[in-house]
Symmetry: C2
Subunit: 214 residues, 2 copies
Amino acid sequence: MEVTDLPTTPQPAAPELEFWFDFASTYSYPAALRVEDLAVAHGVTVHWRAFLLGPIFQAQGWSDSPFNLYPAKGRYMWQDLQRLCHEHELEFHKPSHFPRNSVLAARIACAFDSAPWIGGFVRRVFTANFALDLDIADVEVITACLELLGQNPTVVMDTATSAESKAKLRARTEAADKLEIFGAPTFISDGELYWGNERLENALAKAAQASLGA
Amino acid sequence: MEVTDLPTTPQPAAPELEFWFDFASTYSYPAALRVEDLAVAHGVTVHWRAFLLGPIFQAQGWSDSPFNLYPAKGRYMWQDLQRLCHEHELEFHKPSHFPRNSVLAARIACAFDSAPWIGGFVRRVFTANFALDLDIADVEVITACLELLGQNPTVVMDTATSAESKAKLRARTEAADKLEIFGAPTFISDGELYWGNERLENALAKAAQASLGA
């Protein structure tokens, strides 16, 4: 028997999860605050995928959030989100305006999606929107988020609003559409879609399982 | 101190859960198969509330199931439902027609909502639709469901299709609308709405908690 005939133990692939979100999306808030800690606990790497729900909703014929277009569904969502945040021990204050314009924050999260501070930025912006009732389209609000992370807001925002970064977010949103993402949060794990905050645990379990070749 | 001044221990109210469902509704299937066993485990009584989603959807401007109107959402739902049934160890076979006409089954479940066999009937009809791929609008399919429960199909169907029973289902569906029910399954527990199969456990916990006066 040659040494090369020995069965080789395949290296398990590093488990990965794509987290697709829009900073204006209500159920993306608890998911965004939970995803990194849970992923670490499962040994899973998170890939941050900020995109814009607006064009996705427009393609479905909606000019506004379905929670505004369907008022009973909207009233339910706010009650449900409050219960959910309470359950997850997350602060929650119903935003005085919904949905907020998330383009600037999304451009930053898209342009710097591999920066070491991306997770902290995502959590700070969601907290600003859904716990502090701040306008995340306001440059001052985003400036404060970046400063708290030790980043230079001018440098980050100049980069994020360059033609290249704008094109990157457009391409990201087109990719969401091609992946048949129809809402947020959406998780992609081992090629499968999981939609909604309450599918996060299933998506992580799938990622961990897939990496073992199960 | 008079005897009547003694503080009385209030009797805890019997915990209750309203389960609102349409036999054509996909996510109502796992909820319907799970609700009675889980409720018993929580000491909660289930009130069966069959209604028709059609008029509710029409009021939202939809002439068909949103899973048919929004194809990406529909494709996701079938994949998600399959995963969910696997997780709950429920048989699943994608129905060859969706949504199926659920009026006859709903009239029976509404007319006989307090019969001792109602839970068994609900589970059999859902199983016919989502595990056996049978047409639940077919009198023969409903006949088989009733016979398996030891009921006289002719007597049950005659009662369920009387003018009174038809009016009862219409009133039930109007009541759903007044309660701001916008989809199924919906659970009502201590006056609060919970929408979706994955909210069943929360709704039951709320019912048990409310009965303790918590």
